[in-house]
Subunit: 148 residues, 2 copies
């Protein structure tokens, strides 16, 4: 299949660091806690990465469950990631700005045979777009535009 291009416009509110992302009319706010100059109204950017990973795993588990003969009664994913603020605050050039590591745990309530559940999870981990993207994607600046 040809590539699908997803896109978003993220506009600064003019208030602190608060921004709103618009994805084809669906909107969500991005903020920071007060200690990072925000007003703590919404998750921050790195928290959205974790939620996106959990959401992606849930989408795939529920979408592929039938194919692996798995009945899903309940499903949640715990995701966590370690980040050293010295990196993005520019205090230590030896510290990477992003997550050092991201970890997740899938909690699935299913009466189906454990081998089916295991096969489903292994498949989901192999085809998860968010997991794959986080593990290494080229991110390019098209350019920046300064209007005066």
């Amino acid at each position: 299949m040809a590539n699908v291009t997803f896109a978003s416009e993220v506009t600064w509110s003019g208030n602190g660091v608060l921004s709103t992302a618009d994805v084809q009319g669906k909107k969500f706010n991005i903020d920071e806690p007060r200690e990072l100059g925000g007003t703590d109204q919404a998750p921050n950017p790195v928290e959205y990465l974790l939620g996106a990973l959990g959401g992606c795993i849930n989408v795939l588990v529920t979408s592929f469950a039938k194919q692996f003969s798995v009945e899903v009664k309940d499903l949640s994913v715990h995701i966590e990631g370690d980040l050293d603020p010295d990196g993005f605050q520019g205090k230590n050039p030896n510290v990477r700005p992003g997550y050092q590591e991201i970890r997740y745990r899938i909690d699935i309530d299913s009466p189906s045979p454990d081998e089916n559940v295991k096969a489903l999870i292994e498949h989901v981990e192999k085809v998860c777009p968010v997991k794959d993207t986080l593990q290494g994607t080229a991110v390019k600046n098209l350019n920046y535009i300064s209007a005066t």
Copy 2:
């Protein structure tokens, strides 16, 4: 500084592929369009990645503006990424499931000298946690738990 650990719980709604991410009490929904089995109520996981990148750039531009003597009147980021559905649908093992590439364009309205704006943007690109994370982070499965 020591690492800060961010975390999120993402719980399946029981309805289609819709999930809700909870980040310390702040919640957002994750869905898919109808053609991917969703009800199109919220952005999908890979769209959240783009919004997170734009939000992160905006946070950093506005946070570091003063340090680079840049006045920001208006600011938005356009982000786009190409993804071939054959990858996550398991139709072609040679296609990666995640984004092939992510691109962004920063639109900044500033009366400040262009060299200041340029230096600010270069700094932001260097210290952006989301950009850095997307470019390659270890993502580990702690384990999965199947309750019967």
